[in-house]
């Protein structure tokens, strides 16, 4: 089965009102080219589940989002994500704000097709107090109360991988897969963008096969976009683009997100985008951050 598609073909599977999950973490390994394609579409009213960065911020700022399920939206070196911040402060979006680990359990529950996983995380905090959709239950085995963290089921997941074959085998060569495998398993339909398309034989090396974290049956669409995580990172191939994130932040801060979109997204191809940010070679030259 050949699952190779263009970004536009792949994103056409996303309909208004759907729940979408986005892999990566903050400014790291986000499927930003897919996000840009989604910004170009006429889809609205999305519920977005993510360890959020500019993916969430830009979708919010573009008016695509009805609700965000999040523990944070942050670019780390820029702690406050500009697009998300503006959307929240305008009261434009609903939220389900949960702990990072609760999100992990919600993804696991969805991937295992179970309704919830009990946790004490959230008890005593506004996570439970402000979100009546999170139920608190008794356990048949003790006398405590537990939050029943619900499955974060989703219609579509967007993920950026290092390398894929056309059948949907996906290698995450980065030191951390984050929760991407769980997004892939939790979604009915998973779209993976990747920096490189490789022949199946690439995975025969056991060390490479160990960096494949979900079976190909959980990947429905493969989109080949070298540099497609930009401005986020795709470790080990390139780091995130601090300058670009800052420019995006300044645009939003000045009320000029629309100008950013006009310059980078609206009516532009991914090639236009990459040309505007210095070209693929410039992206590949972005250094990996060291902490």
């Amino acid at each position: 089965m050949n699952k190779l598609q263009t970004a536009a073909e792949a994103i056409a599977s996303i309909k208004s009102g759907m729940t979408i999950g986005i892999g990566g973490w903050g400014p790291r390994r986000k499927p930003m080219a897919l996000v840009r394609e989604l910004m170009r579409s006429d889809v609205t009213d999305l519920t977005v589940v993510a360890y959020g960065g500019a993916d969430v911020g830009m979708l919010c700022a573009s008016g695509k989002v009805k609700k965000v399920i999040f523990a944070f939206v942050s670019l780390d070196f820029m702690p406050l994500e500009p697009g998300f911040r503006v959307a929240r402060q305008s009261g434009a979006i609903e939220v389900l704000e949960i702990d990072e680990g609760m999100m992990l359990q919600g993804l696991r529950a969805a991937s295992w097709r179970i309704p919830f996983i009990p946790t004490n995380v959230g008890l005593g905090t506004d996570v439970v107090a402000r979100n009546p959709e999170l139920k608190v239950i008794d356990s048949p085995y003790d006398d405590k109360e537990w939050v029943a963290m619900p499955a974060l089921n989703m219609d579509v997941a967007l993920i950026h991988a290092t390398r894929c074959d056309v059948r949907g085998v996906c290698e995450i060569a980065s030191p951390d897969v984050y929760m991407d495998d769980l997004f892939a398993r939790a979604a009915k339909h998973t779209i993976v963008s990747c920096d490189e398309v490789v022949p199946t034989e690439h995975f025969a090396d056991p060390a490479v096969a160990r960096s494949v974290f979900w079976e190909r049956c959980h990947t429905q669409s493969v989109v080949h976009i070298p540099g497609g995580a930009h401005p986020s990172s795709s470790d080990p191939l390139y780091g995130f683009d601090v300058k670009h994130f800052k420019a995006y932040g300044e645009a939003v801060g000045a009320g000029e997100f629309d100008a950013y979109v006009d310059a980078h997204v609206r009516g532009k191809t991914e090639q236009d985008y990459q040309a505007a940010v210095g070209g693929l070679e410039a992206i590949k030259a972005l250094p990996l951050p060291a902490y």
Binding site: W25, L80, R130, E145
Partner: protein, 268 residues
């Protein structure tokens, strides 16, 4: 014991005071969020508690802490165990961790907020990060706070605008829990060291930094504080501690963490 240093910055005093929270922790993951807390954890691991565990802030536990400044690459670091972000939660929920974080608000119950300020929950005046891992950290393991600027904006009069971490608030105590199940440890600020060992877990001044008065602390705190018997001065760093700090922070990034990098001794 190494001799006491004659001169040191306030940041260095705070780092040394903060490092003490890890002294008797045994084999736990020490997580300092922010440069000075991370330096504090690194100092403890390099001196009083070599059994501590620390990460590279990415995907690996290290057998030797990385420097907090001047890192060009993670290649060659002393990896010992893969600990990707999901594995951190395995650690958190095991309780084998002590985190030191810098909240935007802390209330009299030791509840903390990095989520949002003002307005309503639906439309906050200022959106911050979100609760991140605060709910899980606070109910799973020991937590300390690091506050670079002690003020009534941080130590708020009422409850936090968004309660992100569980504290000693009887009204929020979950079924089956007692207040003694909560473990908020030490608060390091630019004025003093505090804990929650006052009557009924009241926040309590443990030591004042050199030149700081008890009244100054009270004036900058939005609620009543208990005070330890025989209130003393926060111990100054030793020469050895300063040397290790300098080694762990070769680019002196610690000098840029507090406004104008004040000296540790504010007397005179």
């Amino acid at each position: 014991m190494s001799e006491v240093a004659s001169s040191y910055s306030l940041a260095e005093l705070m780092v040394v005071a903060a490092s003490r929270v890890f002294d008797n922790e045994g084999e736990v993951l020490a997580t300092g969020i922010g440069l000075l807390p991370r330096l504090a954890a690194s100092l403890a691991m390099s001196t009083t508690n070599p059994d501590l565990m620390m990460t590279d802030s990415q995907s690996f536990l290290l057998s030797k802490p990385n420097p907090v400044s001047g890192m060009k690459s993670h290649a060659g670091q002393a990896n010992e165990t893969w600990l990707g972000f999901r594995a951190v939660f395995d650690n958190v929920w095991s309780g084998k961790r002590h985190a030191m974080v810098g909240p935007s608000q802390i209330d009299r119950f030791g509840q903390a907020n990095i989520s949002a300020l003002g307005g309503t929950y639906q439309q906050p005046k200022v959106q911050l990060l979100g609760v991140r891992g605060f709910p899980g950290n606070s109910i799973s393991h020991g937590n300390s706070f690091f506050v670079p600027k002690h003020s009534t904006r941080v130590f708020v009069e009422g409850e936090c605008d968004v309660v992100g971490s569980i504290g000693y608030n009887p009204d929020r105590l979950p079924k089956g829990y007692s207040l003694d199940d909560i473990d908020v440890r030490t608060v390091i600020t630019d004025l003093c060291v505090m804990d929650f060992n006052g009557p009924n877990h009241q926040m309590r001044i443990v030591s004042l930094h050199p030149g700081v008065t008890e009244q100054e602390v009270r004036d900058n705190t939005g609620f009543e504080l208990a005070v330890v018997d025989n209130l003393g001065v926060t111990p100054a760093p030793t020469v050895e501690q300063l040397a290790i700090i300098a080694e762990l922070d070769p680019m002196n990034a610690r000098a840029k963490q507090l406004k104008d990098n004040p000296p540790g001794e504010r007397r005179g």
